[in-house]
């Protein structure tokens, strides 16, 4: 359950994270704002390169310096002690105590965060011992309990397995066990099921929902899969070219998408209710023409203008602002009112 009355655990305001590369400056994340309350799942959705991972790595403060840098904005995190901290300015020691403890993260490919030379149980126990002040034996017992909680059969035996002895779905469960071991307030999941088969994905999504019901953490769920968003999210943030183009409660954004990009995206998904029939009576997808823009050369106005069927001269003249259309629903399009369905 979302605790509506509770203040947000995470409040990102006007975040800017840029990379200085040989081929030019990349404004990967440029003025992104959103917040997440305890028990709430906020999905960030967008196509490849839209800035989803950079947003989540910024919250973890894992942006690789010196090329990458948080240039502006704030990331307010309300910790277990109730105090509010800005993670943009927090020192390295503070971040170390928060990471893997109050804030944890799971990635698409568990092998990148599991150590291949240690049994999985040891790795979870170590994280527990580090943050929870438990002895070795107790930490091991707790690790086995976590593995059982995430549905690993014979967990006491499997805890001694090395990562490579497990299937992709099992490894993702281990990652989740490790991420949940310290009962985080915020769980960031970056494409946690993208590499998995659909029946295994269903298991993992169910596991995450169940863990959230029991522990009440906020989940920041990053994915390019709109179906997964529809199943998991309470609120959704749609990104394009490093900016938020639309955000709001899932029931509003997915039933009546207002931004032409959100609409296009929803109509391009096979199986979408927004498909149409052509003259031959065949079901057709509404393809968005052209390509995702190069983040090094974003146009001055609306970044979507070159692909938008509704673009006018005004759209390329200046960047549209993110406008509130309802209490909690925002859209960045000059013409959203005229284009109302």
């Amino acid at each position: 359950m979302i605790r509506i009355e509770a203040p947000p655990v995470l409040e990102v305001r006007d975040l800017q994270t840029w990379f200085d590369t040989e081929r030019g400056l990349v404004r990967s994340v440029d003025g992104v704002s959103f917040s997440a309350r305890p028990g709430e799942t906020v999905a960030i959705v967008g196509e490849s390169g839209s800035g989803k991972s950079v947003t989540s790595l910024s919250v973890m403060r894992l942006i690789a310096a010196p090329a990458g840098k948080i240039m502006g904005g704030s990331i307010l995190f309300r910790g277990r002690d109730g105090g509010l901290r800005d993670l943009v300015t927090a020192d390295a020691a503070t971040m170390r105590t928060l990471r893997g403890n109050e804030i944890s993260m799971i990635f698409q490919e568990p092998m990148t965060s599991l150590n291949p030379v240690y049994p999985v149980g040891d790795q979870i126990a170590e994280a527990i011992a580090l943050h929870r002040n438990l002895g070795r034996k107790q930490a091991w017992a707790e690790a086995v309990r976590m593995l059982e909680l995430v549905g690993i059969p014979a967990s006491a035996t499997r805890a001694k397995d090395y990562p490579h002895q497990m299937s992709g779905g099992m490894r993702q469960r281990v990652m989740i066990a490790m991420a949940l071991a310290c009962r985080p307030l915020l769980l960031i999941a970056d494409e946690p099921t993208t590499a998995l088969d659909v029946t295994i994905q269903a298991q993992i999504l169910e596991l995450m929902r169940q863990a959230q019901r029991e522990m009440g953490m906020a989940i920041l769920f990053i994915t390019h899969n709109l179906g997964v968003v529809a199943e998991m999210a309470d609120r959704v943030v749609v990104m394009y070219g490093g900016r938020v183009v639309e955000s709001g409660p899932i029931d509003q954004v997915f039933r009546t998408p207002l931004h032409p990009y959100t609409r296009g995206l929803m109509a391009s998904v096979p199986g979408s209710p927004f498909r149409f029939r052509d003259a031959r009576g065949r079901l057709r997808l509404q393809a968005i023409p052209g390509n995702v823009p190069d983040p090094r050369h974003l146009p001055p106005g609306c970044a979507f203008a070159s692909r938008c069927a509704d673009a006018t001269d005004a759209c390329t003249a200046a960047m549209p602002v993110l406008e509130a259309v309802a209490a909690d629903h925002q859209v960045r399009c000059l013409r959203w009112k005229e284009l109302l369905p």
Partner: protein, 324 residues
């Protein structure tokens, strides 16, 4: 209906794995196990299943890129598995492959003209003087301009590279195409462009296609008929509308219910399967799905279900299909 263009009978492909001290293989992977289906002219048949279910191996075995262990593949009435390589060459022209990974499947050292010219040169279909015009025409068919000819693969986006791969496959005027996960690596807006393109080409050129995908929504959208595989075997096959409306096999039901739906009103109770896919080296006895099937009984461990027609055009391989 007229005779199918492609007919696959009891196709079985195993791979040796591991080796003992004498270098003999210790075990084998049952990648494809007694698979039978056919594809009518002009039909788009979807082959779906989870990773490792044997989809790619079916496609490669049909094109003789992988040597099947047993079974028969007949193409336009000819048993192509028993043809000598020289005799097969003419059939190879008529059957082309489109790959999943547009990044890996194009030679980075060749420009686009060279890439598309390659099948023209192998199959000597056209005098060299006509290649350029043909390549320009092919690029137009896939929505690219002739300027692309002088450029190299790295200068193109994923969707554009996939278009180039399609143009290459079409160069020698095939009648049959195996498309192995042709849109899986693409962003959704680009995936829609390529799916629409494949649908148009199929209709305009009268192509017959075997469309391999792990994505049930993609095959539902694109295909006339669906073949569902699990651990090398066919579980169920039916025309698309029938399969999605009345899935009969417990695996198909679980698979369909696991697909995340965009439709908020369909956020429904799911059938969550227990456990993982078993090892293909030691597949379960009887029904291969029984270790995860919510309806399994002891008979499922003893008997191997055969694919049997449950209603016209709708076949199911489940011992208990009548009861559940």
């Amino acid at each position: 209906m007229n005779a199918p263009l492609l007919d696959v009978r009891d196709l079985t492909t195993t791979f040796p794995v591991g080796s003992n001290l004498l270098g003999r293989p210790k075990a084998k992977v049952h990648a494809v196990d007694q698979v039978s289906f056919s594809v009518a002219r002009g039909e788009m048949v979807g082959l779906v299943g989870e990773s490792g279910s044997g989809k790619t191996t079916v496609g490669r075995s049909i094109l003789r890129l992988t040597q099947p262990t047993s079974g028969a593949v007949s193409f336009d009435g000819t048993d192509i598995l028993s043809l000598k390589p020289s005799a097969f060459q003419a059939y190879r022209r008529r059957m082309q492959l489109i790959f999943q990974d547009p990044f890996a499947s194009l030679d980075p050292r060749k420009n686009i003209e060279g890439i598309i010219a390659e099948p023209l040169s192998i199959h000597r279909l056209l005098p060299r003087a006509q290649w350029r015009d043909r390549i320009a025409e092919l690029l137009g068919m896939v929505g690219l301009t002739p300027e692309a000819m002088k450029r190299y693969p790295h200068e193109f986006s994923g969707g554009q590279r996939q278009r180039i791969g399609i143009a290459r496959a079409l160069a020698v005027k095939p009648d049959f195409i195996v498309a192995d996960e042709p849109v899986s690596a693409l962003d959704v807006s680009i995936q829609a462009q390529v799916l629409n393109l494949l649908q148009d080409l199929q209709a305009d050129l009268g192509l017959t296609m075997l469309f391999i995908s792990h994505d049930l929504a993609v095959v539902e959208h694109a295909c006339d008929r669906i073949v569902v595989m699990y651990m090398g075997r066919i579980m169920e096959t039916a025309n698309t509308a029938d399969l999605y409306a009345n899935p009969r096999h417990p695996y198909t039901r679980a698979l369909l219910s696991a697909v995340p739906s965009l439709d908020l009103d369909r956020r429904r109770e799911k059938i969550i399967l227990k456990g993982d896919i078993p090892s293909p080296i030691n597949p379960p006895s009887g029904c291969v799905f029984r270790t995860r099937c919510p309806h399994a009984t002891e008979i499922c461990a003893r008997e191997r279900p055969v694919l049997a027609e449950a209603s016209p055009g709708h076949a199911v391989a489940c011992l208990r299909a009548g009861e559940i």
